[in-house]
Symmetry: C2
Subunit: 548 residues, 2 copies
Amino acid sequence: MARAETRDRARRRTAKRERMEAVRAFATGRVLDAGRTRDALQALLRPGDRVALEGDNQKQADFLAGELAGCDPEAVHDLHLLISSISLREHLDVFERGVARRLDFAYAGPQSVRMAQLLADGGIEIGAIHTYVELYARMFVDLIPDVALLCAEQADREGNLYTGPSTEDTPVIAEAAAFSQGVTLVQVNEIVDKVPRVDIPGDWVDLIVRSPRPFALEPLFTRDPRHIGQVEILMAMMALRGVYERHGVTTLNHGIGFDTAAIELILPTYGEELGLRGKICRHWTLNPHPTLIPAIETGWVESVHCFGGEPGTERYVAARPDVFFTGPDGSLRSNRVLCQLAGQYAVDLFIGSSLQIDANANSSTVTEGRLTGFGGAPNMGHDPHGRRHPSPAWLGLVAGEPPVLRGRKLVVQITQTFRSGGVPAFVESLDAVRVGEDAGMPIPPVMIYGDDVSHVVTEEGVAYLYRAAGPAERRDAVAAVAGATPVGRRIGHRRVEELRRDGLVALPEDLGVDVRRAKRSLLAARSMEDLVAWSGGLYDPPARFRSW
Amino acid sequence: MARAETRDRARRRTAKRERMEAVRAFATGRVLDAGRTRDALQALLRPGDRVALEGDNQKQADFLAGELAGCDPEAVHDLHLLISSISLREHLDVFERGVARRLDFAYAGPQSVRMAQLLADGGIEIGAIHTYVELYARMFVDLIPDVALLCAEQADREGNLYTGPSTEDTPVIAEAAAFSQGVTLVQVNEIVDKVPRVDIPGDWVDLIVRSPRPFALEPLFTRDPRHIGQVEILMAMMALRGVYERHGVTTLNHGIGFDTAAIELILPTYGEELGLRGKICRHWTLNPHPTLIPAIETGWVESVHCFGGEPGTERYVAARPDVFFTGPDGSLRSNRVLCQLAGQYAVDLFIGSSLQIDANANSSTVTEGRLTGFGGAPNMGHDPHGRRHPSPAWLGLVAGEPPVLRGRKLVVQITQTFRSGGVPAFVESLDAVRVGEDAGMPIPPVMIYGDDVSHVVTEEGVAYLYRAAGPAERRDAVAAVAGATPVGRRIGHRRVEELRRDGLVALPEDLGVDVRRAKRSLLAARSMEDLVAWSGGLYDPPARFRSW
């Protein structure tokens, strides 16, 4: 029971003071000279440091990423990077140049091929692949950052930050670093005398630097209605009748994709006709999807809380403060962690598309040769056992052994049976299993586990997996809606009829869905121009989505 | 597809402007005249408003609660209150006086009997009973507050708030209200020229009022080691060897109680002897438990992130910034939502005590006549299916159908087989089932579901429920450690031997635990004085815990 040796009880605080002294030559107060950013990083960082580099789902601390990648590996090496989304070339340059060695991350979409290669070559050491919120959670436990490199729209000279609509992940990373004696350095588009609102207090910010160009921001949640076809519309009609209407879903989260965009776009038409306005889809947790604009304008949507922003929706969102969470400055306040909390504990339904679903309803977006990771879908796409408050939709999927019963979240997978190019969406074994093995992962990178999935919607019909008595029946229900894929071919007509009779499967006619009506005329908006019109000219689509 | 009728698109913003104008007569800038608080509330509130009244697990906006209860029900009525913890008389006075009608809450410990009575009399309408974070989640979805009544230690005249160590739940409630055009009114202990640090930016705060007395704060996490006996110590020894050591648990959360306090207090003795320092219990998510001080002082603990503060630990925590999350002012920054996130997604083990466990390992702290609610245990005490990153402890409980396997959180229930007074802890049916029926709840208020529990520790031994092949085997394993309770008497000696052989149950001798060593001499601190001594005089126990 010896007391630990006498030692400095505030080593991190001491280290911070030393780091800040070392960087002083390159700064005036909190403001770093942009031209000396690399020198400042070299003065600030120590070999082996744990560095949280802001690379969110959408916005990127790209200037700081580039400056970090340019550091002299003699001076700065063996860093341990925490990056939620590996999106930029610079994120991996840092490893190729020997500045960093170890990586913990959540998603690596655009850089996933190069990442797999770098891993195979031994140029990178992976800690683990997380979901976004898991990675942030660990920043308060066993991955506490020494330095955080962040981004925001504006700062004042006291370091108060204005993030604008893309608050996204900045507050949680800033909090982890600022209250653990870490150093926070923020690239901003502008330094101003007074920020329009304070998203993060200056107290939490040690250094700011004006980036030579605005931070990169991807419009990931914009889908052009032009690309929505009859099959997506048919599936949307079935989802609406067979899931939303049947279960009375008032609170929900939509993943991104044309399938869910189709649902958003038939609310003001098909949904209205069914008399469902005010009865379903009232409260949402999702980014500001442009395809939700017609539903908002026709009075379907009471509230939307957002993970992040979406370029082009700024003026529209600001003009709808009854619906969106906006600040005293008028613009959106998003917050990934709080929206994830809301999506996990306050909403009744998650619906998303997958690239592959296996016979047990496990699904993944991982395909051969790509180490993409998880993002946020696993957090939304599972039944949270920590939920206790009931709602009609949740209680409708009651589970457990009487008398100890509980409700269940609706976790819906929506997909065509074949993807473009005739590739089956339903497969015997997920590519993720092989990718996981090849990458030496202890368990395969499954996005959503089959036992958490309550419904599968395809152009064939709806499978009510939550009603299955066991794994065998669940597999049959999946097969019944898997069409002509190898998984679907395993089931015979008679068994499908049994499943229909027992309420495990519904075909369009069982749901009162007239397949002939699945036409583009059912979409409230059929083009980006239509969305702009619905917005009263307030929506400004990014250039790549403009054809006029 | 008719566009909604032309209407005010910013009704909430308009309403806020009107409310703020109505209250102007009682304020100078943002500062409300304390003597006119009731008038101000009457001017601010409208019948039917949804009001978030800060009543956290520990700190209470008690002055505002009292002023609200004193409002004229002719002027203010039919409010819908959102209160996480119903702790004060005033919380229910508001209903008895007709000021409020509807309640959504999470926990009602001290007022649970009166609440049940008020409910039976029709004096209160319950929306739902939540966990803390569920209630906050809904504030961003379908329970968005019109007005938030909060508390903090200090404010400056611009409304910047300093919460001190008990940041707790204030940031999340403030964010929900401030960005949804709600009005935020904060009682503070002091109004100062400059706050020591900004916990919540003044932008988010509409009104502040200096409370005539400091807000109430309960030392809920202080346990006097004097009350820890041999049985708790024996269980702690078994938990340490049979769970922590066996699974290599490095990240964890302890619930409150003498059972877990005993574990904290034998780390520097028994744990040290076993050579476990640095191998287990390195990163913690929990309030600053005074009983953790010896483990911190002997170098066991690398980090602690806290849900809230604990009265008396302020100076000690401030002196240990390498361990605790502290701000630039030196004092603790706690945050319930982020600590819950960490506890859910970043730690491998939750351990807590229950009042009752049934034969299927479902547990609850609800007993006859009390409608207590949930608090935070269900969020910590379940296996989060949204987790994807592996750790050795998590992987050790691998589950699922190959090849789609996943790890599992360690959810441990620790309890003596009989509570004080000879009341069995293991019961055939939870009181919660009857209480739920009596209160008309759609499902019983179960705290932790049996299928989420991985281990049960009693003075008899450890049951490894995660190894059970099915519900029947799980029931046997529970029974094997349930001693002479009705549940325990159901199992015979031979079956217990089988379970030991198969690794489903371990008795002290199976774990190398010498029962004779379970003595108070094994506690690193045996009194509050000992804790103070360990802290080097930095810990200041609240008066009720002082006997010297």
